[in-house]
Symmetry: C2
Subunit: 345 residues, 2 copies
């Protein structure tokens, strides 16, 4: 187990100083061509590799960024991360992953943990709906020296940039589409509306209704977790109503899938008896056999890339007059069979 070679080893071997070796390796300074060549050759031959830790300590830049997500094993988040990684790696950055599992207390812990390892920035999707009230978080914001960027699940906090999708538009388009299909009694599977994303989808839904002269009915809105089982539960509730709805706009693909299962098993047809629209364009929505699911694509890869770009701008921006950016991507409704009464292949 040999030790790694350092610039001191090279210097010793050549009867030079570490300073000279360092300069020779970094090309820029005035070093004679001879020594430069000599150093470069020796470095190669001794398998020298720069220790980025030492560099990071000296320069104050670790070239690491932290990414915090509720979980990584969902297509949406792993796609965002993929986008971030692809954008940042060519610039010399590495991506450190943290999961919160939606546990609010873990979120601050992970932020602090990332700051401790001196990340140059943090990109995160919020798990804690009350994040802005957290003491630790506020401290972080106030002594802001590390760029923080929200994606998807954000909070409106002064000085914090964000990259999101236009959830209002997504909700609006989805609902409008259902109305165009002839649906008049449209239910909505919402989620914790303390999160902007869910609230905005809800608001888009509501606006589309009113724009089309349909009265909003509170009883048709059900708060649902983003999973199959909760989607079933919600659908059951709706089907058991005196006047069941003729369509469901779900803020989650997983809940939409659960709803579809429950509806079908209750003997109803989709889309004839009930149209369904999901949200996120999860891979399985395309893979359904009979009832491919209409959904809203959020372009997570682009979201990751954009978030990374915002980070790069902020980290390159040394002035204190940092401009906060709130980038909003445009979602796209993808119409499939679950909501399309005149669907044909």
């Amino acid at each position: 187990m040999k030790k790694k070679t350092t610039i001191y080893d090279i210097a010793a071997k050549l009867g030079l100083t570490a300073a000279t070796v360092s300069r020779a390796l970094n090309n820029n300074v005035k070093i004679s061509l001879n020594t430069r060549k000599l150093v470069l050759e020796t470095a190669l031959e001794m398998n020298y590799e720069q220790n980025k830790l030492a560099l990071a300590l000296k320069s104050g830049k670790s070239y690491n960024v932290g990414v915090i997500v509720p979980r990584i094993d969902s297509n949406f988040f792993s796609s965002v991360i993929r986008g971030i990684e692809e954008e940042l790696y060519p610039k010399g950055y590495h991506v450190i992953i943290c999961q919160t599992h939606n546990q609010e207390n873990l979120e601050i812990e992970k932020i602090n943990s990332l700051l401790n390892v001196q990340v140059d920035g943090i990109l995160m999707s919020i798990s804690n709906a009350n994040l802005e009230n957290d003491k630790g978080f506020n401290k972080l914001i106030r002594n802001k020296r590390t760029p923080l960027i929200f994606f998807d699940r954000k909070k409106n906090i002064k000085g914090v940039s964000s990259v999101t999708v236009d959830d209002f538009k997504g909700g609006y388009e989805a609902t409008k589409h259902l109305i165009e299909q002839g649906c008049r009694r449209i239910a909505h599977l919402s989620n914790d509306r303390k999160f902007e994303i869910f609230n905005n989808r809800f608001l888009g839904y509501k606006k589309a209704l009113s724009d089309n002269g349909i009265e909003f009915d509170e009883s048709l809105v059900i708060e649902t977790q983003s999973n199959v089982l909760d989607g079933r539960r919600a659908a059951r509730l709706l089907l058991d109503m005196e006047t069941p709805p003729d369509a469901i706009f779900s803020s989650s693909d997983f809940a939409a899938l659960g709803a579809i299962q429950e509806i079908k098993e209750s003997g109803f047809n989709i889309p004839e008896d009930m149209c369904v629209v999901g949200f996120s364009n999860e891979p399985f929505t395309r893979f359904m056999e009979l009832t491919t699911i209409t959904t809203v694509d959020q372009f997570p890869l682009d979201m990751g890339r954009k978030a990374a770009q915002v980070f790069l701008e902020e980290v390159g921006n040394t002035e204190d007059t940092k401009t906060t950016q709130n980038i909003v991507l445009t979602p796209e409704l993808i119409v499939r069979r679950s909501s399309s009464k005149k669907w044909k292949d």
Copy 2:
């Protein structure tokens, strides 16, 4: 933009030395109770946080591990990563993600890049089937000071531990199951057999055939990429044969899905006319409406956890007599409708 407080700041404020402060913060050494208390209080009040970079440089441990995968936005790999992260975070480690996109040249680049940032270990799933012939990789192995652990796609390399699933058994069980369903002419959608995982699935398939007195037919084995389109293409080839098979064992869920689509669209029924088994237990295999897909679960979460555990053992093992571990998880056949002729809900 305040600077971070260091132990020197604390020392200065208290008229002490950084050494004393350091010791006080690290509890263990002989420091008078008074100073210890004083230091702790001042540290809290000044918002002191240990700079892990400095610590890493001093101790030679970065508490970062690198994970290299072909891509992160697939359920299998993101689940493995989830397992790794969950296992290592409580031990103080952070996980750095790298993707290779199956580009062979990128693999070595990423390894070197991770070594440069002084990761304490690398966990990887191989993209390059010829990795062991690569010069850079060999160098890495020879001056081994950073634990390297393979998961899923491994190579048999002396001194390198691995965590894999028993692909042979997976292939064997899948094929045996098809035989038990009455199938006699079983095709296999293979993949690049330079990778152990695909070769072992193939060998398991072959063994199950011979154990049951079925002759192996080379023409029923088709090399297929792990995606839907290629699965369709392969199924087309099989359907166009003079004597088409009565079952398909695919080494990929995605290819299995493509095959199912092609088969159904050609007017055949599954499982009556053709049984299909996939591999990986991707989420969508469970979500299919008519034909949920029989598949083999590889327990990626466990794989990640185990790989992380092996890393922890190796990194804690200072002796040079490091024992190489080759952990093999047992896969589980999950029978669903696509292969089960007497299926009932």
